[in-house]
């Protein structure tokens, strides 16, 4: 209806988003990443055969935001749920959407073994260095010195160890077929992030094994920053601990 009133449509909401209003805070990157995933699913024409496994955390409502068949897993268990789906229906596309508390803390066993089995699923991993939903507690990815509600004096090695690098860790496993770490702080790196997400889904379509895209993301609310400050903080601090780049890529023949 709107189309008729305008001369040219240059952008619209991707079909794979339901149109339900996001529950995310201003400046949070979840919304951007949701959109990128939906655009990729539309472009690949796989909406009718894609199953989504949402996590526990801020993105728990992801199953409502995507216009796809979907469920919510228990905290950290999304890779196991996705494994069950994929083994039951191997010709469907199955992806999990998980935060850092979900994937890198309570769900380490499930993600490590899904990757190690070369489970032919895709994981979108949102790393914002904090537990968002529960109000800003320390995550396994919280940076050293970073203040959170459970590290009020800043994270220390002595008390909490080092921030865990999941992409590096999972890239040591032979079942991993494609792993890349990206961010969405600028239009330019958002385009790169979309390319990575598309490649991850293509990896699954080709049946090459486990694929994951880690997206460094902001949490302005729990970081206590404006969205612009948060993006800057991410670029200046998180990328040092979590370098961007491709960690595994078996899509280029030979494997």
């Amino acid at each position: 209806m709107v189309d008729k009133a305008v001369d040219k449509v240059i952008a619209r909401m991707p079909k794979s988003l339901s149109g339900k209003e996001f529950t995310y805070c201003p400046g949070c990157h979840h919304g951007i990443v949701h959109r990128l995933i939906a655009e990729v699913i539309d472009e690949l024409g796989i909406a009718g055969k894609t199953l989504l496994v949402a996590p526990v955390g801020c993105s728990v409502f992801a199953y409502e935001f995507f216009d796809l068949d979907g469920t919510v897993a228990a905290h950290g268990r999304a890779p196991a749920v996705a494994t069950g789906m994929k083994r039951a229906l191997p010709d469907r596309i199955v992806f999990t959407y998980q935060g850092d508390g979900d994937l890198a803390s309570i769900g380490t066993a499930e993600i490590v073994h899904a990757a190690n089995r070369g489970e032919n699923i895709t994981t979108i991993f949102i790393n914002n260095a904090v537990y968002g939903m529960t109000g800003g507690q320390m995550a396994p990815t919280t940076l050293l010195g970073q203040k959170t509600t459970t590290t009020p004096y800043g994270r220390t090695v002595k008390a909490n160890g080092y921030p865990i690098r999941m992409s590096e860790m999972l890239s040591t496993l032979e079942g991993s077929a494609y792993i890349e770490r990206v961010m969405v702080t600028t239009p330019q790196n958002t385009i790169k992030a979309k390319r990575a997400i598309k490649k991850a889904f293509e990896t699954q379509i080709k049946g090459l094994g486990f694929s994951m895209v880690e997206v460094l993301s902001t949490c302005p609310t729990n970081w206590g920053m404006t969205p612009i400050e948060a993006s800057k903080w991410l670029e200046e601090n998180m990328t040092k601990q979590f370098p961007l780049g491709v960690y595994v890529d078996k899509t280029k023949g030979g494997n």
């Binding site: 728990v60 409502e64 979907g70 469920t71 069950g84 789906m85 039951a88 073994h113």
Partner: protein, 355 residues
């Protein structure tokens, strides 16, 4: 044709014949032969076997597989069943059908690997969080376990509920001749209009145990409760032996009930008429029939391989109409028929002398 089968393996074969083609599991004694049997048998029937990294992963793989509408099961033993409680609660909330086999061993904690019935509370009263129920079936022979396996999958699909076969190390490890039902045609499996298969031919479907709005979550809970009520009305199963004219009724299930059957014969030789009330569904528990029987005797003796768990349901059923003494041994120790007979005699001394 009857075949000689080990309990765990017979249960596995029965599950496959009931249309189960998906098995996820983690090795644990005394049921690992079930897992092993599935690993060699499922590929023969184009099924999928996957050894998970833990029981926590196992139950979540079942969650995912069940979301697609296909029949799925696992088997485990007590400590493993404890680990599955998280996923069981989520599956109950998402109304996902699946079948669990718990070959119970001595507990608590690491316990031992001998037969026990001490997971009764966990299976019948919850174990996971939230107001949920699970259908619990208790076979007392391998043949019955085979027959109940078929029923278990049908009940799970019919009510969109979890069904647990509560066995024990004795049933799992013994061998008996059994007759299997025919291999069921997968084309006859129930169609599930809620299943997640990709939204190409339906509007996007959501399967969750979640609603942030308490009034909506209450509606979901009331739906579960309505289902549980239907199950309570329609699916109560039990067996009675010699309960007419009995001097005393013994309530026992599973392996313990089988032992009591021997006690009944021994008691008969001594002139004591012992009746057996054997619940086959531990949930829903046959309260109503037990209450009727309580009118006919002075004592309903509960005998368990635990320190008195089903006893609480027996008391609810009897509701004060008769005495409810208890005899049991647990921790992997199995009461003998003679020990049960001794317990009966102690209770009945007054009665017997009076005749």
């Amino acid at each position: 044709m009857k075949m000689l089968f080990k309990g765990t393996e017979a249960i596995a074969e029965a599950a496959i014949r009931a249309g189960c083609r998906l098995y996820f599991g983690y090795p644990i004694t005394p049921q690992s032969e079930l897992t092993e049997y599935m690993s060699r048998r499922l590929p023969e029937v184009n099924g999928t076997f996957l050894q998970a990294e833990s029981e926590v992963a196992t139950v979540n793989m079942m969650y995912g597989a069940s979301c697609t509408g296909r029949r799925v099961m696992t088997s485990t033993s007590s400590p493993g069943f404890s680990l599955m409680m998280e996923g069981i609660s989520y599956m109950a909330g998402a109304q996902l059908p699946a079948v669990f086999v718990n070959v119970v061993r001595g507990g608590p904690g690491l316990g031992d690997i001998q037969p026990a019935q001490s997971d009764y509370f966990q299976a019948t009263k919850g174990g996971g969080h939230g107001d949920y129920r699970m259908i619990v079936l208790a076979p007392h022979t391998i043949q019955e376990a085979v027959d109940l396996m078929n029923l278990a999958f049908d009940l799970a699909d019919k009510y969109r509920m979890l069904v647990t076969i509560l066995a024990d190390g004795m049933l799992g490890q013994m061998m008996e001749p059994v007759e299997f039902h025919e291999m069921r045609d997968l084309r006859d499996m129930p169609q599930k209009e809620w299943a997640l298969t990709g939204a190409s031919d339906h509007k996007p479907r959501k399967v969750t145990s979640f609603d942030i709005d308490p009034y909506e979550l209450e509606k979901m809970n009331l739906r579960y409760q309505a289902t549980y009520k239907k199950v309570e009305e329609n699916e109560v199963r039990y067996e009675e032996i010699n309960t007419k004219d009995a001097d005393i009724i013994v309530a026992a299930y599973g392996t313990m009930a089988r032992i009591v059957k021997t006690t009944i014969r021994m008691a008969k030789e001594e002139g004591i008429k012992v009746g057996l009330f054997r619940p086959i569904t531990l949930w829903p528990f046959p309260y109503k029939r037990l209450n009727e029987l309580a009118d006919t005797v002075k004592n309903v003796l509960t005998v368990e391989m635990s320190y008195g768990q089903m006893l609480e349901d027996v008391k609810l059923g009897v509701n004060g109409k008769a005495n409810t003494p208890f005899y049991g041994r647990s921790a992997g120790v199995v009461p003998t028929p003679t020990e049960v007979l001794e317990a009966i005699k102690k209770i009945m001394v007054g009665d017997l002398n009076g005749r």
